[in-house]
């Protein structure tokens, strides 16, 4: 405790590999660790989705080595339904928690939040390190469930009781795997709570002279607000997981009602309700969706201004307002996941109105982004392309929210592929595009080498078209009433839809394969990429006023004084932008 010095105190880098790269207290190393973890997770999750898609397209296809992944088994390497469901569960859990939460928030946030506010490190470096290693432990725990007892759980990333809460009786994977799942998520919550504490404190307390709240870049704002959401949202999932573990391992019945009959005999449970889990889970779950998307929203608005060479329309104030409004609303709407769950019909209406209202701040936000593109001098580097792509996919995903926010329409569309398309577009793909944009934009700073633009552009085009080929058809499947979470389509009204699934599968495999271009680009850059200048993109925020990569204390002990907000682009003069650290008289500001 006592020797964890505040950021500005230590200017000497630690000695030795372990202290430098493994148990490092340096926020930059921790950021890279988070990013690496997310990278590992995203490729695991992607491979799982490949297997799922293959099974949906060609049910009887034998996939070599399939039996290795799960005890749920794949006789003759042909996927069984429970195997499919466990893959689906792991895909969802890995992607939502360890990719969409880790990369944009914990990864980039850890690396750049302190730099962008002009601090030498996080407020609590030790705690920061702890938060990563707890998250890492959570990931390992989750991965272990592949190898325990009867394999990973099959109750989906939402782990609905009573499927998840009665133990092995409810199906394969529910014996040990589900317990591991619950422990992993509980650990993850702890890690995120520690991280949130750190983010908030750093943003409020470690800002360099002149870095007023109004001058903070939108990325910092997004990370800060997201940390605030996470601080209270994960504090809700943690007890929920504890209750789930109690139900599973100590025979309590928080989520189990009386009179359930499993394997022919009546269970001893009494007094619980599966609805309670849904309430607790979604009360966390909806804020979680925003934890996943808001950082990307900030990253994109930040990068777009750099690419467009003009300040954001409405400036930091409007965008921050939108994000704040969304953050507050995110706590009022969780019931729209439960319209048909036996929820009180009146509260369904109560929930649907704020859900629809959420579209307002996001619409305004998107309009601000599009308005920024108007009249810009767009530099089409990969980062900018991905930011523009983000706008497109975010719109595509957001629009379908209009349907699902209405209980009356949800009666038909609930639990169909329409929902899958919706949240993949608006949460997964959009957030991933933000991550890609951030990667191409910041990698030069993070590893000191420029990424290959040609490969980057190829990666963008194929990904951009690919995701539309994967997820747009899912809307049509939803319209036709195609139920999600089905391991096979045997119902008469689903059989005609299988060709569409085949198409989606092909698209998914192709788009997934494209991601290896990105991986190669990253790998190649790390070792053989050309050295990066300090400010390759002519950007203004503080991270570009230091070397690439930054020294251990970020600014080489320089005394920073911030004179401008982060979006002084398109100004007169030799260079069309003003760094935040430039002298005050450089602009009428």
């Amino acid at each position: 405790m006592h020797d964890a010095q505040p950021a500005v105190h230590h200017h000497t880098a630690p000695e030795g590999f372990i202290a430098k790269y493994v148990f490092s207290v340096d926020h930059k190393v921790i950021g890279l660790q988070y990013y690496g973890l997310a990278l590992l997770a995203v490729f695991i999750g992607m491979v799982l989705s490949w297997l799922m898609r293959l099974h949906l397209g060609w049910g009887s296809l034998a996939i070599p080595g399939l039996h290795l992944l799960s005890r749920n088994g794949a006789p003759g390497n042909i996927m069984t339904p429970e195997y499919y469901l466990s893959l689906m569960t792991m895909h969802g859990t890995i992607m939502v928690f360890f990719v969409l939460t880790n990369a944009p928030l914990a990864g980039f946030g850890n690396y750049f939040l302190p730099i962008q506010v002009g601090a030498a490190d996080m407020a609590f470096p030790r705690m920061n390190m702890m938060s990563f290693w707890v998250t890492f432990a959570a990931f390992i725990t989750l991965m272990l469930s592949f190898f325990v007892g009867d394999g990973p759980p099959l109750s989906g990333w939402t782990a609905y009781a009573t499927l998840s809460s009665v133990g092995g009786a409810s199906g394969p994977g529910e014996a040990t795997g589900q317990t591991f799942w619950a422990i992993a998520i509980a650990l993850f919550c702890v890690g995120q709570l520690l991280g949130s504490l750190n983010f908030i404190t750093t943003t409020l307390d470690l800002r360099a002279k002149g870095m007023t709240l109004a001058r903070m870049p939108l990325t910092t704002w997004a990370w800060f607000i997201t940390a605030c959401i996470g601080l209270l949202a994960f504090a809700d999932l943690l007890p929920a997981c504890i209750l789930l573990i109690l139900d599973r391992s100590f025979g309590t019945s928080f989520f189990n009602p009386a009179g359930m009959v499993l394997n022919g005999q009546v269970t001893k449970y009494s007094g619980g309700s599966p609805l309670l889990w849904q309430h607790l889970f979604w009360f966390f779950g909806h804020p979680e969706v925003y934890i996943a998307i808001i950082p990307s929203f900030g990253i994109v608005s930040h990068i777009l201004t750099v690419g467009a060479r003009k300040p954001l329309l409405g400036g930091t104030r409007v965008m921050t307002g939108c994000i704040l409004a969304a953050a507050f609303l995110s706590y009022m709407v969780w019931g729209h996941h439960m319209f048909l769950s036996g929820l009180n019909p009146f509260s369904a209406i109560l929930f649907s109105v704020p859900t629809l209202i959420i579209t307002i701040p996001f619409t305004v936000g998107v309009l601000m982004l599009i308005g920024t593109v108007y009249g810009a001098k767009l530099r089409f580097n990969t980062a900018t392309l991905f930011s523009l792509g983000f706008i497109s996919v975010f719109v595509s995903g957001g629009i379908s929210g209009f349907f699902l926010a209405q209980p009356s329409i949800d009666i038909y569309l609930h639990a169909t592929y329409f929902v899958v398309a919706h949240f993949h577009f608006v949460m997964a793909v959009a957030s991933i595009f933000g991550i890609f944009a951030g990667t191409y934009f910041w990698m030069p700073k993070m590893i000191g080498r420029m990424m290959n633009e040609t490969l980057g552009k190829v990666h963008f085009w194929l990904t951009f078209i690919g995701v539309y080929c994967i997820f747009m058809p899912m809307h049509y499947l939803g319209l036709a009433g195609n139920v999600r979470r089905y391991a096979a389509f045997t119902d008469n009204f689903l059989v005609p839809l299988i060709p569409v699934h085949k198409f989606i599968t092909v698209a998914a495999l192709a788009t997934g394969a494209v991601q290896f271009i990105f991986l190669w680009n990253l790998f190649h850059t790390r070792f053989w990429g050309p050295k990066a200048p300090d400010n390759p993109w002519d950007a203004t925020s503080l991270e570009w006023s230091t070397t690439s990569p930054p020294p251990f204390d970020n600014f080489g002990g320089r005394q920073l004084v911030v004179n401008h907000d982060a979006y002084q682009y398109g100004v007169e003069g030799p260079k069309d932008y003003i760094m935040q650290t430039d002298p005050a008289e450089a602009a009428g500001d």
């Binding site: 599966p274 048909l340 767009l378 523009l388 009666i411 008469n492 009204f493």
Partner: protein, 265 residues
């Protein structure tokens, strides 16, 4: 590059929209009295959302096409600044929301907030891993009491009724297919034996989770005769995908015969 992105974005928008407009894949025929309201709501939303979708994609595409980085060109700011844009967003979307939630609430209420007709035919539904079972009260119009400890698929006592001691239970009819008369209000009381299941008939525009420990009522009226599928849409275990039953909508007279013949044997 910018022009390419502009074209691609526009094309993506238009192609995506085409399949919605052409109804290549669309909602199945509607066979319920409450369905039309939902379909109307759906179509209205589709039009409004579609316009917003296309407008956004095309605008984005247009700007990408136009505003590449040409040397010497100055940046242009949005005419009138952010205020009108914000106002536009709030007003347009606000109005849309207002309309949608008003009519939407009506359509929703027609199913969930209206009392069931007094002459409704009451059918009890039991869901279990991985099947639906349906129970008719029989001539006496009384359901036998449910005893979970008696539930067993082996002796066909899916509902755990006790005919030996329970008079009301003796004439209960238990079947695996939901057979109903056309144009007659139906009241279903849904309950589950183990997991959360879901009663979904796309053609009826009815979807409702079935929770263990709760008895959830839902009512509808079928307007077309025919045979439709009932599927489970709430993940309930490894057999989830195979959990289904059939909905048989018969003319009143045929239904009466069917019922008589059922209670006969």
């Amino acid at each position: 590059m910018g022009k390419a992105l502009g074209v691609v974005t526009a094309v993506i928008g238009l192609v995506s929209a085409y399949f919605f407009v052409a109804h290549t894949w669309w909602l199945p025929v509607d066979i319920s009295t409450t369905g039309p309201a939902i379909d109307r709501q759906f179509n209205e939303t589709m039009i409004e959302a579609g316009i917003l979708f296309l407008a956004a994609q095309l605008l984005l595409g247009l700007f990408c096409w136009q505003y590449g980085d040409k040397p010497g060109r100055k940046i242009k700011h949005w005419p009138g600044g952010p205020k009108p844009v914000v106002a536009f967003g709030i007003i347009i979307v606000g109005l849309e929301i207002l309309a949608l939630s008003l009519f939407g609430a009506k359509a929703w209420g027609a199913i969930y907030l209206t009392p069931v007709a007094s002459n409704a035919l009451h059918i009890d539904v039991q869901a279990e891993q991985f099947a639906f079972f349906f129970r008719y009260p029989g001539p006496d119009g009384q359901f036998g009491k449910i005893h979970p400890e008696l539930m067993s698929d082996d002796n066909g006592d899916y509902f755990g009724i006790d005919p030996a001691n329970d008079v009301a239970a003796r004439d209960d009819i238990m079947v695996g297919t939901l057979t109903i008369p056309v144009n007659k209000p139906i009241l279903l009381t849904l309950h589950s034996k183990d997991m959360i299941h879901d009663f979904y008939v796309p053609e009826l525009r009815i979807q409702q989770d079935i929770l263990p420990g709760l008895v959830i009522p839902i009512h509808f009226t079928a307007t077309k005769t025919g045979r439709w599928e009932i599927v489970c849409t709430q993940l309930c275990g490894l057999g989830h995908y195979s959990m289904r039953a059939f909905l048989e909508v018969l003319p009143q007279d045929q239904f009466d015969d069917w019922l008589k013949q059922q209670s006969g044997d």
